[in-house]
């Protein structure tokens, strides 16, 4: 996945899947969730800044959705969002460890209360959707994962390793002139990390959408 930063970052688009993103960000989408982990992300973290569509009350929401682990389910959800004009800001999908017949989709979306109510109800209406939970107003832990390939010339290496150390991330691949670093955390932490590495020259990155779980013992049904 290639990311282009800079001015193109603010150039918003909505592609055919209804996924909001920035020009230059590519989105991977497969029609099936069966037996594969699939992650979609977009890089427009500051999307809200110049969006005219958003109302003042519009807020980012994080939805945790349990679905039947069947072919075509993701397509139904993506189609629902594009057909009704909702945004998918990020999306990650994988089979759950506790039940292989069920997949969990974690989705970030934006909208005012009215839109979120419709999104939740419309998702529920899909036959393959088991539960929809809006974690936004609950206590939850959230993580994203990024792999960053960064220039690492001999004179930069010590500085990069210091940053890696401070952020408690780790180097997973080393080459004569690059490091590939694995880093996980919430969105803010990842942004800060990327900003610090940018002066070194980021070669490429791959970043997941958010995943999240509520901070309570009981399983959210």
């Amino acid at each position: 996945m290639r990311i282009s930063y800079g001015s193109s970052r603010r150039c918003n688009y909505r592609d055919d899947f209804g996924i909001t993103g920035t020009a230059g960000a590519q989105v991977l989408l497969s029609a099936t969730t069966k037996n594969e982990s699939l992650i979609i992300t977009d890089i427009s973290r500051d999307f809200h800044i110049n969006s005219e569509v958003r109302k003042m009350s519009s807020q980012k929401h994080i939805l945790s959705i349990l679905v039947d682990n069947e072919p075509g389910v993701l397509s139904r959800i993506a189609g629902l969002f594009s057909g009704r004009g909702y945004n998918i800001e990020s999306l990650s999908v994988a089979q759950t460890a506790e039940n292989s017949a069920v997949s969990r989709i974690t989705m970030q979306t934006t909208g005012d209360d009215h839109i979120l109510e419709q999104i939740t109800k419309q998702l529920h209406k899909l036959i393959n959707v088991i539960t929809v939970n809006d974690l936004t107003d609950k206590k939850y832990v959230q993580r994203e994962l990024i792999l960053i390939k960064v220039n690492a010339k001999p004179e930069q290496r010590a500085e990069i390793l210091r940053i890696v150390d401070i952020f408690r991330s780790r180097v997973v691949d080393v080459g004569p002139e690059h490091y590939t670093i694995e880093m996980s955390g919430d969105e803010g932490k990842l942004e800060a990390f990327i900003d610090l590495l940018r002066p070194m020259g980021i070669i490429e990155t791959s970043r997941t959408g958010s995943i999240a779980l509520a901070r309570e013992k009981k399983k959210i049904k």
Binding site: G72, S75, R76, G79, K121, K125, N128
Partner: protein, 566 residues
């Protein structure tokens, strides 16, 4: 017991009580048609275009209050069904569509007559399936019927690869269907209902707004009882026509873009609206901030997404219309009868006001001179037929005039493509309705434009001996679009002039039907009488006033009280 896939399909259809299929054969479904030949309990009606099969199944479902079934082949057979499926989806009609598919090994190879119909119909079906395993076939079919007719009904498509139909497997009864992720809410929240009782008692100017959901849940008796018990006037959406008797003094007519003045004024002036099974379509609400702005809205719907979608409800109730109204009525019955009718003098004032709206701005037309007014034809048709007549329509002016001037007394007797507005719906729908109710008179009201969209189905009516009566209001225009052009586009009749049309009498003749035509007002009644009395399929063509408009009319996006009256 070992059975072929196609035999399992037949067995499951019989199990679901299916006795009629509308379909069209093709290479991918040849095994199914082979098994169908061994299944005498299922009648197959051969349409002349797959779109007609789905419309017919849709109307069959509506007329009979059951599930309609269509069977078509892969590729073009499947894509031809899409309009029919989308129409059934918009109108929430339970239809199951079986499409053939290329053998599983060829799926994805761009095989001959291959199309991803499951992908294509995902946004216009309630649910759909591709069966890739014969062991899941029986269960999938049962699930499809369960989903189509439960909750808010809708079309379900099942894609059947040819090799699955030809393969054999041990047949096992799938047992009860229990989907953990699909549990519609049938029973309303009682606490919410007691709030409704209070709202009814407090209300000075109540109004009931009934919709297609009342037809689907067979709740028109309960709705009528509620209205009469509480002395509340009733309006109904296009899809809800017939849920309250059109001959009742409490009836206001249809609201919205072509609604009556009194229905629209009542919506604007009421202080309580009890909306049952409606989705507040833009053709009903007009400008939303002016819609029932002074009213508390009770909204009853089995589909939670209908609530707060277009209009904010004060008191939302998720539940089946029949269950909900039944319970509400029983709660009201335990109240003091005079309490639930509101203050007598205030209620009389409200009903007087409505009567005055009716008197000052009635829905009207004038039949003067020789040239036939289209409304006059519908008016006469209504007078010449009884309330057991099933009326289907095409889409456009013919549809609106029928909704306005044919006063329906019973549900399931007005069959029209409401949400999607499909021209070409009426004739195949009439055939479907006739197949469902062979003893009833079925009339299709059409325009000269829309009848040409599926006129090939005349052959189906003749061949299957399903005689339908077709009334064509011929103004040699695409009338509704022409009306908009007249009112909002400086009368530039761009591409709506249809002076060239087939000779419909000869067309009837060509298919073996009876054709009649008149352009004189004094002959309308005679033609209708003779045509309706004829045994077979009849086309009655009326050459009508060319530039007649449907009034009243609310310009798109306007408040529903801002009506063009004549």
């Amino acid at each position: 017991m070992k059975l072929k896939g196609a035999q399992i399909l037949m067995k499951m259809l019989i199990d679901q009580g299916v006795d009629t299929l509308f379909g069209y054969p093709g290479g991918a479904v040849i095994d199914i048609y082979d098994s169908l030949a061994d299944t005498p309990s299922i009648r197959h009606i051969l349409v002349r275009h797959e779109q007609g099969a789905v419309h017919a199944a849709d109307a069959y479902a509506r007329a009979k209050g059951t599930v309609g079934v269509a069977l078509v082949t892969s590729g073009p057979g499947a894509t031809n069904t899409v309009t029919g499926i989308a129409s059934a989806y918009m109108d929430s009609i339970p239809v199951v569509i079986f499409t053939g598919q290329v053998p599983t090994a060829l799926i994805g190879n761009d095989a001959f007559q291959e199309v991803d119909i499951v992908g294509i119909t995902r946004p216009c079906t309630k649910h759909n399936y591709l069966v890739k395993d014969i062991d899941k076939l029986a269960r999938t079919i049962k699930e499809a019927f369960h989903i189509a007719q439960s909750g808010r009904p809708g079309p379900v498509l099942v894609d059947l690869p040819k090799d699955i139909m030809a393969a054999t497997a041990e047949f096992e009864d799938p047992g009860e269907i229990d989907l953990k992720s699909y549990k519609p809410t049938y029973n309303p929240n009682k606490k919410q209902l007691s709030k409704v009782v209070e709202l009814i008692k407090e209300s000075k100017r109540p109004l009931i707004f009934s919709g297609g959901g009342v037809v689907l849940s067979k709740a028109s008796e309960e709705l009528t009882k509620l209205a009469r018990m509480t002395n509340t006037p009733v309006t109904a959406s296009l899809m809800g026509l017939g849920t309250f008797p059109g001959s009742d003094p409490l009836w206001l007519g249809m609201p919205g873009m072509h609604g009556t003045y009194r229905a629209n004024m009542s919506i604007s002036e009421c202080d309580l609206m009890i909306a049952a099974g409606v989705r507040f379509d833009d053709r009903v609400t007009g400008r939303k901030d002016k819609f029932a702005s002074g009213a508390k809205i009770v909204q009853i719907d089995i589909d939670p997404t209908s609530i707060h979608k277009n209009v904010e409800a004060t008191c939302p109730i998720v539940g089946d219309c029949k269950n909900t109204l039944e319970l509400l009525n029983s709660m009201l019955e335990s109240e003091n009868p005079s309490d639930i009718k509101g203050d007598a003098s205030e209620r009389q004032e409200w009903l007087d006001q409505i009567a005055q709206w009716k008197a000052t701005s009635p829905q009207r037309y004038e039949q003067t001179g020789d040239v036939i007014k289209p409304q006059y034809v519908i008016d006469r048709l209504h007078k010449l037929t009884d309330s057991n007549t099933i009326i289907t329509t095409e889409v456009g002016q013919n549809q609106m005039w029928t909704a306005q001037y044919y006063h329906f007394d019973k549900p399931n007797h007005f069959i029209t493509s409401g949400g999607l507005g499909v021209m070409g719906f009426g004739l195949p729908a009439a055939i479907g309705a006739k197949a469902a109710c062979p003893d009833k008179l079925v009339v299709c009201v059409a325009g000269d434009g829309s009848i040409q969209m599926n006129s090939q189905e005349l052959m189906t009516a003749i061949e299957a001996d399903l005689p339908v009566k077709i009334v064509i209001l011929n103004n040699r225009y695409l009338g509704m679009v022409r009306q908009w052009q007249e009112l909002f586009y400086d009368k530039r009749y761009s591409s709506t002039n249809m002076e060239k049309a087939p000779d419909f009498v000869k067309l009837a003749d060509a298919y073996g039907a009876v054709g009649m035509r008149t352009d004189r007002a004094d002959e309308v009644e005679t033609v209708l009488k003779n045509g309706l009395a004829c045994e077979g399929t009849v086309i009655m063509e009326f050459i009508v006033e060319r530039e007649e408009c449907v009034y009243p009319m609310v310009p798109a996006g306007g408040a529903i009280t801002e009506m063009i009256l004549v």
